[in-house]
Symmetry: C2
DNA sequence: AACCATGGGTTGACGTGTCACCTCGACGAT
DNA sequence: ATCGTCGAGGTGACACGTCAACCCATGGTT
């Protein structure tokens, strides 16, 4: 089925410079990650009607001190944008999985409801069994460590060069004539 | 910033059974993949206004025999659902990146327009440079091979257990009483 | 006091992806 | 000839994420 034509066109080899091996690694990784993501999402949806985002939020909340967190704390914990989190929580509130609690001044907490906790408890075993089937059990212990090491390395690299959110120092005067490449 | 609380709650260790190392590998992998995805998307959007999906479609088309493909061929090549592809192509048609061509009987081809080819050619070098920065150059050659091997292994495993699209043999008579776990 | 900067939180519009369902021509069996 | 069905393609509703802008309380500056 999948032909692995992935993410890179002919145009690349000459100019950007990825060797055949690098290209293959990247394309295969990218496809794999897409498919794994999709499968996880489907499985979670099928057994319990949670999205992966739902599950993640529930999991983080269930680990929190009082089963509740302030939004920006969750954002920091998950590495999510506040806006994404807001929308997510709004949707989950609508389904009764979590609730917003306005603590006296300014502080808004998001708390796990009994319903949310039940949903998590019900979905968790099947979910981790599924992760095991799809990924963990396919790999040798050595490969699992390799994957962890690779992921850590890449993440560390990413922490360095931030996605330039108005870094104030770039092309100060020109009127955005061309593309910001 | 990121705290790696990832995708799994306390509930898991006991029941579903992932060891600490496995859990860490999975969570780190998942986070890494999310962040890499997001960065690639941002970069592509910033230089040339393409989404990653756009880029992929353009790349596949640019490699095709006559710079055109039938939709289902593209679907097979990319491993995408026909519906996703349809929406994607509709959007890209709207922007003049590709065009639909109705060949005499039944066959509908999607063809790269000059505009689409130009967009791809413009985006490609920066894109592969970016892939290099984010991923390839962070890893040792050995790690690149490991990543490729791991990805291939997982993908092969996935080809086996399909996502059960009406496999005709499951729970034939009951009225969907509980959850389909 | 008036001012503005910051940051937590919100909102809306938009692009993306999935699901379930629909159309329609081709083809085979009766 | 009619029916069934199969596969290519399309459609609409909805969930998810991102972006940019906004609200508003806090906490300095002057």
């Amino acid at each position: 089925m999948h032909q692995l034509i992935g993410t890179m066109g002919v145009v690349d080899h000459e100019q950007g410079g990825l060797t055949e091996r690098e290209l293959d690694a990247w394309q295969t990784f990218f496809l794999m990650q897409e498919v794994v993501r999709a499968r996880i999402e489907q499985q979670l949806q099928a057994c319990g009607g949670l999205s992966n985002a739902d599950y993640t939020v529930l999991a983080v909340l269930s680990e929190a001190p009082d089963r509740r967190l302030r939004i920006f704390q969750m954002g920091a914990a998950l590495g999510w944008e506040k806006s994404r989190l807001h929308h997510q929580i709004t949707r989950m509130c609508g389904r009764g999985l979590v609730e917003r609690q306005r603590g006296d001044a300014r502080a808004i907490h998001v708390a796990l409801t009994p319903r949310g906790h039940a949903a998590l408890a019900e979905a968790a075993p099947a979910h981790s069994r599924h992760v095991r089937e799809l990924v963990i059990d396919r790999l040798t212990p050595a490969q699992i460590d390799q994957l962890a090491a690779i992921s850590h390395t890449i993440l560390d690299g990413l922490r360095g060069n931030a996605p330039e959110t108005g870094e104030d120092g770039e092309a100060p005067t020109d009127g955005r004539a061309g593309l910001p490449c």
